[in-house]
């Protein structure tokens, strides 16, 4: 039987506010345990929450970025359950009336085609603390620094059809939130976490199969692997005559499998009700329009512009718009060099290769966009040739000079374009190599093209690489052909 995979994602994005969603404690990552847990974050008796204006602004900016409806009224509710890292015994979240209504996100697939994924809604909620399971005298330690960190939970419709699509979707969300600057998008530090709903159905069937929810998927790669495993598990189960049960499963990256969390789930009933300590949040049109004015150009718009205004290929446009720092780097190089295609080739080619080799991020590049742009400017105006450019790039990387011009000057890499000088070099090469000249003259006409390479090489060598190769080539052909 042919099976179709149906996937919906809940992506939890940690918002990059200074302080917590309901308290004035810091959200900085990595502080000593419980030093950033205020009375409110600890749920001490008598404390009350007050909503952070930036958490609201960031949620609205996300909503605008995905063309979502922004309801005038949204309501915070309490999700009640006991867990040691959940200090109040409830999580303040949104359920019936979330801050962001339906919208959509465009994803780019490997073949360069795009697909629109519908967003059901996005809501604000507070994060829980962390349980540290290392042995503290046979007990578990609780760190509540993360308690109260604002999260935006983005819930998609079940529009994704493969692990690859799911991964592309997570990347698209990652690009949007980092472009907006509403999250650092650092998956290793848990700034983006996913729950994945997966089901399978026979191809052509309209109704959805029973879904399993996979929790705790914390990277693009894990998402793909977890889904791949889960799809295979479900198909095997059904083909063996079994039935998928609706349950929560945990992805274990070490064993590369998902496993049931059923025991913890028993008798869950979250008893959602409107939080009486918080009032309905009202966002009028003026507020929403003001937020709209703060939006930067978003990945999809940028991709379009790169492709249609700068004339880049779909692949290049997608790659260069995939993150805001990369796009900004590229655009700066392009502006300085005055050539989009040249900039695109170098950023994706030499620069990326070098960054990957040293496991560096674009923001950590030793060669700045201005430096690379300056180098490409000299390549474009033919001050240097391609070979010299690679050498200048290597020197810039090693920080052997402040700018391309400085290195070109210091090393005498300026391309020789003086016809007289080149002619003299060529005459010398012809005079020094009579055997090869004779061979050239006696060769068939269609072989001569290849043979000229030898003379070009000799001439370039003589110029220490600074001669313009095209010029050398043309002059040589002219002089050798005159000897025929």
């Amino acid at each position: 039987m042919q099976w179709e995979t149906v996937i919906g994602l809940e992506v939890h994005v940690q918002l990059a506010t200074q302080s917590k969603i309901f308290s004035g404690a810091s959200t900085a990552f990595g502080a000593e345990a419980n030093t950033q847990a205020s009375a409110v974050d600890l749920g001490l008796p008598g404390v009350l929450p007050v909503l952070n204006e930036n958490a609201v602004a960031m949620a609205v900016q996300f909503g605008l970025a995905i063309n979502a409806q922004i309801p005038e009224i949204s309501v915070f509710e309490r999700k009640n359950y006991f867990y040691p890292d959940l200090p109040k015994g409830y999580q303040t979240s949104q359920m019936a009336q979330p801050i962001i209504g339906p919208g959509e996100v465009e994803i780019t697939l490997e073949d360069g085609s795009t697909k629109r994924i519908r967003i059901h809604h996005a809501h604000l909620e507070e994060d829980a603390g962390k349980s540290l399971h290392e042995d503290y005298h046979g007990m578990t330690g609780i760190d509540l620094n993360r308690s109260g960190t604002p999260l935006l939970e983005i819930v998609s419709e079940p529009d994704l059809r493969s692990a690859k699509e799911a991964s592309a979707y997570i990347k698209a969300i990652h690009a949007i939130v980092t472009y907006l600057g509403i999250s650092d998008g650092n998956m290793a530090e848990g700034s983006m976490r996913c729950d994945v709903n997966v089901s399978v159905r026979p191809k052509g069937q309209e109704t959805y199969g029973t879904r399993a929810e996979i929790k705790n998927v914390n990277s693009f790669r894990f998402a793909e692997r977890a889904i791949a495993f889960e799809v295979e598990r479900q198909i095997d189960l059904i083909e063996d005559g079994g039935k998928v049960i609706q349950e929560t499963r945990l992805f274990d990256p070490d064993l590369d499998e998902t496993r049931s969390m059923r025991t913890k789930e028993e008798a869950n009933d979250y008893r959602y009700f409107p939080c009486p300590d918080l009032l309905p949040l009202m966002l009028d049109e003026a507020y929403v329009e003001h937020q709209r004015t703060t939006l930067p150009e978003l990945p999809a718009e940028k991709r379009q512009r790169f492709q249609h205004e700068l004339g880049l290929s779909a692949y290049d446009a997608d790659f260069l718009s995939s993150s805001r720092p990369l796009a900004e780097y590229f655009e700066r190089v392009k502006d300085v060099a005055g050539d989009a295609k040249l900039a695109a080739n170098w950023v994706q080619g030499d620069l990326m290769a070098r960054l990957n080799k040293d496991s560096l991020d674009i923001t950590e590049s030793p060669v700045s966009a201005d430096q690379l742009g300056g180098l490409l400017l000299r390549l474009k105006d033919e001050t240097i040739n391609g070979k010299a450019a690679k050498q200048v790039f290597a020197d810039l990387w090693e920080r052997k000079g402040e700018s391309a011009d400085e290195i070109i000057d210091a090393k005498g890499l300026k391309q020789v374009t003086d016809t007289g000088a080149i002619e003299a070099m060529i005459d010398q090469v012809i005079a020094d190599n009579p055997v090869q000249v004779t061979q050239y003259r006696e060769a068939e006409e269609d072989k001569r093209g290849k043979m000229i390479g030898f003379f070009v090489g000799q001439a370039m060598k003589a110029s220490r690489g600074t001669a313009n190769p095209q010029q050398v080539n043309a002059l040589l052909k002219q002089k050798l052909d005159a000897l025929l």
Partner: protein, 488 residues
Amino acid sequence: MHDLTLAELARGLASGDYSSRELTTALLARIDHLDPQLNSFITVTHERALADADAADQARQNGQAGILAGVPIAYKDIYCTEGVRTSCGSKMLDNFAAPYDATVVEKLKLAGTVCLGKTNMDEFAMGSSNENSFYGPVKNPWDTRLVPGGSSGGSAAAVAAGLAPAALGTDTGGSIRQPAAFCGITGLKPTYGRVSRYGMIAYASSLDQGGPMARTAEDCALLLNAMAGHDPRDSTSVSRVVPDYTHDLEKPLTGLKIGLPKEYFGDGLDSGVEQAVREAIKVYESLGAQVIDVSLPHTDLAVPAYYVIAPAEASSNLSRYDGVRFGHRCKDPVDLIDMYKRTRAEGFGDEVKRRILIGTHTLSEGFFDAYYRKAQQVRRLIRQDFLDAFEKVDVLMGPAAPTTAFELGAKADPVQMYLQDIYTIAINLAGIPGISVPAGFAGQHPTERRPVGLQILAPHFAESHLLNVAHVYQQATDWHQRRPELDV
């Protein structure tokens, strides 16, 4: 000195008749001497009180004393007080020294008041008789066989017995007004949002409101001046100018329109209470007021709606008492679930458990719409009843409670106890202000005369008017000056 009102004491301190230290020392001695009979305090803060008093005396010498400087007051043990046990009447918090001051405590400290201690209360403010305290019941100073009412029973008894000129209470369904009535003092529940709830341990967040309990309406006005105002730490506190609540106290009541809700004079109202209340209304008529019959048609649904909404909020508010970060934890838990279950079973008393169970059940899947949603719809109807009534009248009047104080142990049945609050509970659902003022006594025999409270209600944020109406009555009567005889 213990017979004087807060306003009189403030004047005495200002004119140098006595120092705050002298006053405070006298009251501490009276507490030590009399409270063993009453059990109105959970914690008496001797040292802190004297330190506060000295600071106030010093400020006065420096010419920096405000009107309340040096005046001793007591706090219901629901208000967080930094470094002082804040138990909420529960074993759960018996070992909890709050690490911060409630906003109201901070404000009153800033005003120079002296903290005498923390008063007894029904556990987590759940009760109408003060019999639900981990620290034992409070006795009514008028007759120690009687309850003082609840849940702010300790505050009411302390004021009535002259142990403190005033005390703070909280009112979720009548917890200031009913004990004020039972103990013959004046108690004000302000409009929801008028006084910050930050640091006031939550029972039912959308109903809870702190307020003053004192001998007179004037004293309540003085305290409200210091307590009221917007608090950036409480999202539900209202950003609205705080008037001087003493400014309009003396305004004549000529032309005042008083509404008498017919539902507040129906079956179940004790005839002695009714008689006293009707006498009080006659006094108002003699002062130039006009009496109009009105109806609050959804009155009988207030107790049912309250016993869905309040326990639902409470069940969630009390989930934080889990033995992890503060408060009681059971001994040697075998695992997490055992820790939760035993900690909470040991830490909470019977009534608290009952309300947690009701609230948990009514919020559960399958019951939410029939109970919680329905109760909130009815809540809107109840509020509308008041808004409609206030189109026709300026204030509403009726009894604060259907009976006078009853004997300890007389109401073992929870539902009977809940019905104690039939005249007070709707006010919290609507969020309007209400005050109970002493309006005489009821009882068969002269030796069994028990205080009666007249309840006066006003529209949202009309506290000034409410206090004016109460004060003018107190100028015309002397019920608020009567004092119980205590075995000294």
